[in-house]
């Protein structure tokens, strides 16, 4: 019974939904540019093993701190120059993209899965449980995320995996709050009540009836935390608490390059530029997503 009703109401809307979304998304030129840049970077990262001219870890003592090809002393065999240990910058940057995207995807997955689940429970739970959950989230939110991540990494030991776990924990409360707020406003709407009257059980109500209608703000938040995760992991790497050398992670590369900033601008400039462009592309997409998904802001 319940199946029939929900299917009947949902089915006709489905095919048009993505098209409508794309129509609004496309209007935001910045978002489309962001999407192209993002896709390009993802492809480059995926193909890093094939297109990188050198092994990112191989050191060439004969060619340390070589400038990029357009400067005196640069050569085409190291297009973006080499770092203090004679490793190819371009190859390291390409491989570093893998770490950043991996971290972004994992943090968003862990934080959003956990956060949505807890948020749904909180939204449907009796008041006492809801209050307990929200107080716990308040506690986590009282710690600045970078500080919390630093301290958690200090406990767990510095590594990329631990940095990811720490950042996911720090980001979780945002998803909990968003989901809970959305559930609260959806819960008393007619379609939820009718689903309940028809006999839908709690899990069905949570995941099939209510959740799809709460997704818009969560998707926007996902884009935001994707870019923030890349920034925070790079910051942890920069502080020596994230990925450890010789991993070609962008933040770690910056930390290693710090003492050479006044002698070799390229070892500092390129990794940071890579972070900035990636994060900027994702944030541009995030703005476009918000415009396309948030009906309140539509056409404003």
């Amino acid at each position: 019974m319940a199946d029939v009703t929900t299917n009947a109401t949902n089915a006709p809307a489905r095919p048009g939904r993505f098209k409508e979304f794309w129509r609004y998304f496309r209007e935001n030129k910045g978002a489309v540019i962001g999407l192209y840049v993002f896709v390009t970077f993802v492809v480059l990262a995926a193909l890093a093993g094939l297109i990188a001219p050198h092994d990112p870890l191989v050191q060439n003592r004969a060619a340390t701190l070589m400038p990029p090809f357009w400067q005196d002393g640069g050569s085409w065999s190291y297009p973006l120059g080499t770092d203090p240990l004679g490793r190819d910058m371009l190859s390291r940057l390409l491989n570093g993209a893998r770490y950043s995207f991996f971290v972004g995807v994992m943090v968003v997955l862990i934080a959003s899965t956990g956060g949505i689940l807890i948020g749904l429970i909180s939204g449907f739970a009796p008041k006492w449980l809801d209050t307990i959950i929200m107080r716990i989230m308040d506690i986590i939110l009282s710690f600045p995320s970078l500080l919390l991540a630093l301290v958690l990494v200090a406990i767990l030991g510095p590594s990329l995996l631990n940095a990811m776990i720490a950042i996911s924990i720090a980001y979780q409360p945002h998803y909990v709050r968003l989901t809970r707020a959305a559930v609260m406003s959806e819960r008393s709407k007619d379609y939820v009540i009718s689903a309940r009257v028809v006999g839908a059980k709690l899990p069905r109500l949570m995941f099939i009836t209510v959740l799809p209608n709460c997704l818009a703000p969560i998707i926007v938040q996902a884009a935001l935390s994707f870019s923030n995760a890349i920034l925070d992991v790079a910051a942890l790497g920069f502080l020596g608490m994230g990925a450890q050398p010789p991993t070609p992670e962008w933040g770690t590369m910056l930390a290693e390059a710090r003492e050479f900033i006044l002698r070799a601008w390229w070892v500092v400039t390129f990794p940071g530029l890579a972070i900035l462009i990636t994060v900027l592309a994702i944030n541009l997409m995030g703005d476009g997503l918000r415009d396309a998904l948030d009906p309140k802001l539509k056409r404003s």
């Binding site: 209050t131 710690f143 600045p144 819960r187 502080l239 710090r258 940071g272 994060v279």
Partner: protein, 367 residues
């Protein structure tokens, strides 16, 4: 909302009471402002307890014996070990330890540093003015530039200035500030030689630490060039720390202004023939500022996180650098105490923002 619907079952508690948020009292009868204050204060207590518990748990969940871990390569003699066990109270039941810790915290006793042997509380408050000075200057820059930028962008919507401004705001918002700091050092300290790279003031100046704020102390000292030196040390770190707040404030001001500008009373004000500057400045901005002020208040966490990076790069002797150094030195009592104090600070500021918000905007109280 939902007052008329009453359904049965545990999952559905759409009851007669108008809301079920734990934070607000169900009905406002008398003194809504006072009630709002009290209910906000009441939620502060469990959060404070929880934050204390988290920082208490910190040393105890470390893998391995915390004393051995802290001693690191230095090692520790059996006598010193026994002394430390007694000092940290590890020989007593865990709930006694927590009670001791909690009552200590309430009296300002956060233990002492493993490395310097000084009380954590004293260390924190001797370094805090440096962070406060840096953050204050940064947030001042962000507000003074961000709000006008947002207002102008909103009134010039879609024009070149708006686009330029919003693009730069998005870049600022996406900026890895540790890299931004390095770039500024390359250009302004390396190439141009305008600003120093680290510290708060040149070593040649020495004067008593009256207020802890270098800008004020250097003026009070009356020494020639001291103030200029303090300013030149402060410029780059505060620009770096201001970057993200500036971008956020500009974006927030713009969107709040756009929302307000479409309201009926703005059209009325325009129709009355008020000067555009009066409409935008007085009628619109005043209402648009409410969400902006909230965002500024909630920025304290961003500032503290930014301070960790900024202070580390510029060797700025504040609490951010202190925390990072302590983590590397495995000075866990300091990390524990610092974590707690930072969290309490964020909580207090958020509480003040909440209360102010209720004060400015009566709708919040009544909801």
């Amino acid at each position: 909302m939902g007052g008329a619907v009453r359904l049965h079952g545990p999952a559905f508690r759409v009851t007669g009471k108008s809301n079920r948020r734990g934070d607000d009292p169900p009905r406002m009868t008398r003194g809504p402002m006072l009630r709002y204050f009290l209910s906000k204060l009441l939620t502060f207590v469990p959060t404070f307890l929880g934050v204390t518990l988290v920082s208490f748990a910190f040393i105890r969940v470390l893998p391995g014996d915390p004393i051995i871990v802290m001693a690191g390569e230095r090692g520790v003699s059996p006598e010193r070990y026994a002394e430390l066990v007694a000092q940290f109270g590890f020989d007593r039941p865990i709930y006694v330890q927590f009670w001791d810790y909690f009552t200590g915290v309430l009296q300002g006793d956060l233990g002492q540093s493993f490395v310097t042997k000084r009380p954590v509380w004293d260390e924190f408050f001797s370094l805090f003015p440096a962070t406060l000075e840096l953050s204050t200057v940064a947030i001042t820059i962000a507000v003074l530039l961000g709000i006008p930028a947002g207002v102008i962008a909103a009134t010039q919507r879609g024009k070149l200035f708006d686009r330029l401004l919003m693009s730069s705001a998005l870049i600022g918002y996406s900026m890895p500030i540790f890299w931004w700091a390095l770039l500024l050092i390359i250009v302004f300290s390396g190439n141009l030689g305008w600003t120093p790279v680290s510290g708060r003031i040149d070593l040649m100046f020495y004067f008593p630490n009256t207020t802890g704020f270098m800008l004020i102390d250097s003026l009070l000292s009356g020494q020639k060039g001291a103030f200029a030196s303090a300013v030149s040390h402060l410029v780059l770190p505060s620009i770096v720390l201001a970057t993200i707040p500036l971008a956020v404030i500009a974006r927030q001001t713009r969107s709040a202004m756009l929302e307000v500008l479409s309201e009926d009373y703005i059209r009325t004000a325009r129709a009355k023939g008020l000067a555009p500057i009066r409409v935008n400045g007085l009628h619109a901005l005043r209402n648009a500022l409410i969400p902006v002020i909230t965002v500024i208040g909630l920025m304290v966490g961003t500032l503290l996180a930014g301070a960790i990076l900024t202070e580390t790069i510029f060797s700025w002797p504040g609490i951010g650098k202190w925390m990072v150094d302590s983590i590397f030195r495995r000075d866990y009592p300091v990390v524990q105490g610092g974590l707690l104090l930072v969290a309490v600070m964020v909580m207090v500021v958020n509480l003040i923002v909440d209360l102010l918000y209720g004060f400015i905007n009566p709708k919040i109280r009544k909801r």
